[in-house]
């Protein structure tokens, strides 16, 4: 599958994202600079990586959310093609309105980096099918603004529609209803605060994140 990773100034998990994609597909993704206005022809999967786009100034993901490449990314999503945002990428998806809600400052007000136990709430998505019957995984989190917020109506809706994909087993940031990752109604756009690309290797963080990439990209 032909993949692209969008690089904003301040992205810092772009290399990690590329490594994960390459590990699963055998092919390195194209790294697309934020000032481009089109995705490479034939791009089937797009990932918005973690990091601190624009220093996370103003609001996390806000400035990246209005950069030149975003219309192309939105069009990709509107075509029903898979789009994954991790951490800062999730914040960008929220800011562009591709996913509902908001990500606020962690309740502790501290940056939190830890290996986070998660529950897979929906194993039937394009991004989680390879987890099979596995429900409990450990994937690292590392963020300052991952406190998921939405009004009750939205929360009820996304819960009842199966759009809550990952939940924290030990809430690190105050997120409403322990939400760690959500998917859009169409099932092709997922955002999550935990970093699956940091859990693809037994020598580093474990392998619990690998299935996200295998689900969406097919394992090599």
């Amino acid at each position: 599958m032909k993949s692209a990773v969008i690089v904003f100034p301040g992205s810092n998990c772009d290399r990690d994202a590329a490594m994960a994609i390459e590990k699963v597909t055998g092919t390195a993704p194209t790294m697309v600079w934020h000032q481009e206005t089109a995705l490479p022809d034939g791009t089937e999967f797009v990932m918005l990586p973690g990091g601190f786009s624009y220093g996370d100034y103003l609001r996390c993901g806000a400035m990246a959310g209005v950069s030149h490449i975003i219309p192309a990314v939105k069009a990709h999503a509107e075509d029903g093609k898979p789009l994954l945002g991790v951490c800062n990428g999730f914040q960008v998806l929220i800011e562009t309105g591709l996913l509902p809600g908001a990500l606020m400052r962690n309740a502790s007000l501290h940056f939190v980096c830890e290996k986070s136990p998660l529950t897979i709430e929906n194993g039937n998505t394009q991004f989680t099918s390879r987890y099979g019957s596995t429900r409990d995984v450990i994937i690292p989190v590392a963020h300052h603004d991952g406190n998921y917020f939405a009004d009750d109506e939205t929360l009820d809706r996304i819960e009842s529609e199966g759009q809550v994909v990952f939940r924290y087993a030990r809430n690190p940031n105050g997120s409403a209803r322990d939400i760690a990752g959500i998917i859009n109604e169409g099932g092709n756009v997922m955002g999550m605060m935990p970093h699956p690309e940091r859990a693809i290797d037994a020598d580093h963080g474990g392998t619990d994140g690998l299935a996200v990439f295998e689900s969406i990209l097919g394992s090599a």
Partner: protein
Amino acid sequence: MKARIHVYLKPGVLDPQGAAVAGALKNLGFDEVENARQGKLIELDLSGDDADAAKTRVEDMCKKLLANPVIENFTVEMD
């Protein structure tokens, strides 16, 4: 020209920073603090001299970037 923008969290939106500020002030003995909310103050220097037109543009900036309509309200004052 100068524009001063206030960005507030909407009522009902959780405000961890405000809550922490209120807690810390109480810890310091400022018992009169009942509640605190934290927002942003953005000041822009703008070229041009048509204040009304500029204000419309600044409101546009707020909608496009400076405030997140899901959680925030804003006000604009021109100086």
